[in-house]
């Protein structure tokens, strides 16, 4: 078991195209004690990796727009960056569940309930839907 101090500089890249989901997941992981880099798509991920920044974990939403979807991105990273853990997620519930599991391993144990994280995202998405109708 790694000690808490070894997690202090652990960096997670959250790869999620929807800003409202990304914002809440990133904040949750920061509150769990991780350093978080927020990427909207695969181009941003490669900017980080090719820039030589130390990354420990990538949390990748499978449905990414653009030339490379989440599966393809994960595959290419697993082939070229074996030292990085890649976790694929699908949908809001999946992202929350995987973030919660990372939190459990992190330096700060679950600062608030994952169901609160999920409901916060749902409220934001619902407000956006409502705002579009008006």
């Amino acid at each position: 078991m790694p000690t808490a101090s070894s997690f202090e500089t652990r960096t997670v890249v959250v790869v999620e195209p929807d800003v409202l989901v990304r914002m809440v997941i990133a904040e949750y992981l920061r509150d769990c004690g991780y350093k978080v880099i927020e990427a909207a798509g695969s181009t941003e991920v490669w900017a980080v990796l090719d820039g030589g920044h130390a990354v420990d974990v990538l949390l990748i939403e499978v449905s990414l727009p653009g030339a490379e979807n989440g599966f393809e991105l994960a595959h290419r990273i697993r082939q070229t960056r074996r030292e990085v853990d890649v976790i694929l997620t699908s949908g809001v519930a999946g992202s929350v569940q995987q973030s919660h599991e990372l939190c459990e391993e992190g330096p700060i144990k679950t600062p608030y309930e994952p169901k609160d994280v999920e409901s916060r995202i749902k409220i934001l998405l619902e407000r956006r839907r409502a705002a579009k109708k008006t």
Partner: protein
């Protein structure tokens, strides 16, 4: 409708900065610096992401945006949207192009900062604007 927050109490005491920058390798260190300075920071890669955040009812105290953004809507357009829809939220606009910054009608709710910037200067300007 009031702002939503996670259950964290401390969110209520921290000012929230919405950082709009399409260049991740600049957005990320700027965000981290401001977080270390005590702000809650929401990152947006485009003006449309910024508007999605603002329209979702999430609390934002100040917007810090690049003028030159990759998509169709730039920082000037975002400032106009803010003036029409969230006139109580101040915006700090940045650009490497001084001509672009000269076009900004600077006032109580709108200020400029040229690029490249020192992160400490960003934090100082934000602190000044929020204390008005």
């Amino acid at each position: 409708m009031g702002p939503v927050s996670a259950t964290q109490e401390t969110d209520e005491h921290r000012s929230t900065v919405l950082l709009v920058e399409d260049e991740l390798l600049l957005r990320w260190p700027t965000g981290e610096y401001l977080r270390d300075a005590g702000y809650r920071v929401i990152e947006a890669a485009t003006a449309s992401e910024a508007i999605a955040v603002l329209a979702s009812g999430t609390r934002v105290d100040l917007v810090f945006s690049d003028v030159n953004l990759a998509e169709e809507m730039n920082g000037h357009a975002l400032a106009s949207w803010l003036a029409s829809n969230r006139p109580q939220i101040p915006i700090l606009l940045t650009s490497a192009d001084r001509q672009e910054l000269c076009r900004v009608a600077v006032g109580a709710m709108r200020a400029t900062l040229s690029k490249p910037y020192d992160l400490s200067a960003v934090a100082e300007r934000i602190r000044e604007m929020l204390s008005r």
